[in-house]
Symmetry: C2
Amino acid sequence: MKQKKVFLDESEMPTQWYNVMPDIPGGMSPPLDPETKEPMAPEKLAEVFPMGLLEQEMSDQSWIDIPEEVQEVLRIWRPAPLVRANNLEKALGTKAKIFFKNEGVSPSGSHKTNSAVAQAYYNKREGIKRLSTETGAGQWGSALSFATHKFGLDCKVYMVRVSFDQKPYRKSMMNTYGAEIVPSPSPDTVIGRKILESHPDTAGSLGIAISEAMEDALSRDDTKYALGSVLNHVILHQSIIGLEAKKQLESIGEYPDVVVGCCGGGSNFAGIMSPFVTDKLEGKDIRFVGIEPASCPTLTRGKYAYDFGDVAAMTPLLYMYTLGHDFIPPGIHAGGLRYHGMSPIVSALVRDKIIETTSAHQLECFEAGRLFAQAEGIIPAPETCHAIKAAINEATMDLNDPKTILFNFSGHGLLDLASYDAFYSGNLHNYDYPEEDIIAATKNLPVI
Amino acid sequence: MKQKKVFLDESEMPTQWYNVMPDIPGGMSPPLDPETKEPMAPEKLAEVFPMGLLEQEMSDQSWIDIPEEVQEVLRIWRPAPLVRANNLEKALGTKAKIFFKNEGVSPSGSHKTNSAVAQAYYNKREGIKRLSTETGAGQWGSALSFATHKFGLDCKVYMVRVSFDQKPYRKSMMNTYGAEIVPSPSPDTVIGRKILESHPDTAGSLGIAISEAMEDALSRDDTKYALGSVLNHVILHQSIIGLEAKKQLESIGEYPDVVVGCCGGGSNFAGIMSPFVTDKLEGKDIRFVGIEPASCPTLTRGKYAYDFGDVAAMTPLLYMYTLGHDFIPPGIHAGGLRYHGMSPIVSALVRDKIIETTSAHQLECFEAGRLFAQAEGIIPAPETCHAIKAAINEATMDLNDPKTILFNFSGHGLLDLASYDAFYSGNLHNYDYPEEDIIAATKNLPVI
């Protein structure tokens, strides 16, 4: 047995992010103004995002420097280890080599912290005092709470009510880092009050929470908004995952045949796979497999079209795979994958057939997660269980195929153990949609 | 800034444990038979422990090989990182250098896993099919659940009822690794039923849970008992912490002026400090500071005497600092530090003035833990907050003293966030004892 864990020295941590946008064969379509349906004017986006991030959002540069201040905070836990899942391989009886990039080692327990630190930094640099955001599963809210504390910013988190109630430990974590947290919909915003009036018992959704956080940022001069996935600058910040993984594999003479990740908004998957895209375009035999929940089948059953990112239709229109912005997925336990849309970058790479997509039901994903925990010790987040399921599929389709699989272990599940309890108790169920429901969900897409 | 994190290559992981017993100037007193009060006959101990562990328990060898099968499992997460707490130093405004050994990276989240793996291995090797154990805070139960699964053993965990109720996520973790868990006192044992009859609402205690687990092991041929701290073989297994830390500090040209750890049963503190003891005996200027909760002041206010390890007086008599085996400490949130006794090795080193002792109240420890989390990202276990408090004391007694502090970050607090909530809500209190209560507690020590 060779080294199980591959570390990079801190001096080997990437000092530039990789921007995959210039590589996309079919190009990207610009975000549109929700009112005029014309390409969004940068000054309007500047009401909610700082210029440093907007420049990245639209950049055609392949490499963008990581500021020293951001690197310093990232070095608290990065470079993240690359781990050979040899015990999982043995449990599966496969000749495949399975590697995972362990993003669970970050302070908040997931890859989200990578972008949170960068976003807090650029806002701080431009004099912003406070950030508003939404969180579904709680991973992003925790990450931004940590990052804003590091840069001395205040932070308000609108947490989807069902998660707020189910995951009290996520609130405690955000409290520890000094953030303010309210369940969404909340009485603190116009849109929140409106929804509470018509649906007092609603479980909430990411789409609603985004509307609230956007309204918060738009209504205060000292505040801007931060989003934890979907957008191009978030994908950019997450490229550090793939850049490190590539170096780590190189250092042991390996190269992946397939790169796997779970897809909610797309950032962890794009983060690990985007630095490999040029290799594929240059003819390298490498596959990228994104997996999503069958209960929120954005990439596998959604439409590729312009749509809003939120329920209240306040965000710019993004060209992406979508199930319709008023689609409310069932309350599955992988809260981070319950989003109607998908990163425009990931969507374009799917359109251009660079990324393959697949889906899985939650019960088989928890089963995969338990097998992984027993073999490798670490308990994965429910979202990450999807990536593990896809990696296991790849490793077992032909047990004698010695292929090299790299997957993104996007986060640990230590704050999601109630979901495992529900699984063990037999109270979890799968959800599926008849085709007519998907057709109905996507029939209200905005007309451009 | 130099490297923040110091890693060792897997090939540099220690292949031998260090046994500090031969170094102890005043020597060790043997365990006594609870019935005859004569030195315990090994064949009687062999009813509950496998020979491989008993040999270690009484060994006079300084170095003992770590079996390859144990090393292989330890390599899932070891060597553990040594981290420079430079952000904490900055927050304190101290010139001291603070390093911590991060044992929170283990599968179950604490140092306990180091001994669990070794204990499961030696039991497996001798044909044992099942282990019984107790757990207080849940750290040890989780660790043994993971380790027994790795070696194909069954595991039954008697979990102190107050923790069982307060820490549902610990149960979920043990379930994930396939163990059976019951709240203690339980109806599954004679002693459990007896206590439930007289005290149906008892919160339980480690002393009771130990009695139950011992009874379980004694009543079944296929089962032996496992203890997560206190005993000499556990301290031996934990020496890997200090051995690694010493190598890591050496690799960056550092040597500690003071080594700090929290003391419950003593294993994490002894684990990090014991490999440095010979240096001190040879005249090196190094201090060892053990910190315990003021609400369970075994080392600072207890008696040095023979006492039982459990409430039912079933265990051998150990020569140690003790508050009396029927002392039930208040329900503070550092459950792992709520034990009436102390490792005989740590006790002897205190007697010989090699170890200094101190205590702290839980509120100041949580405050220290929060400060650490905000600075370094990682949320510490309530037990670990004590070590952090002592490290901060060392770093701030003279802010201009550039001393080097090494402390054991024994575990993360991600499954203890409810305790932080209690702290934030103002519902936590300190506990202290008037001297007459301590005198009363220790007046029933067995007469030898």
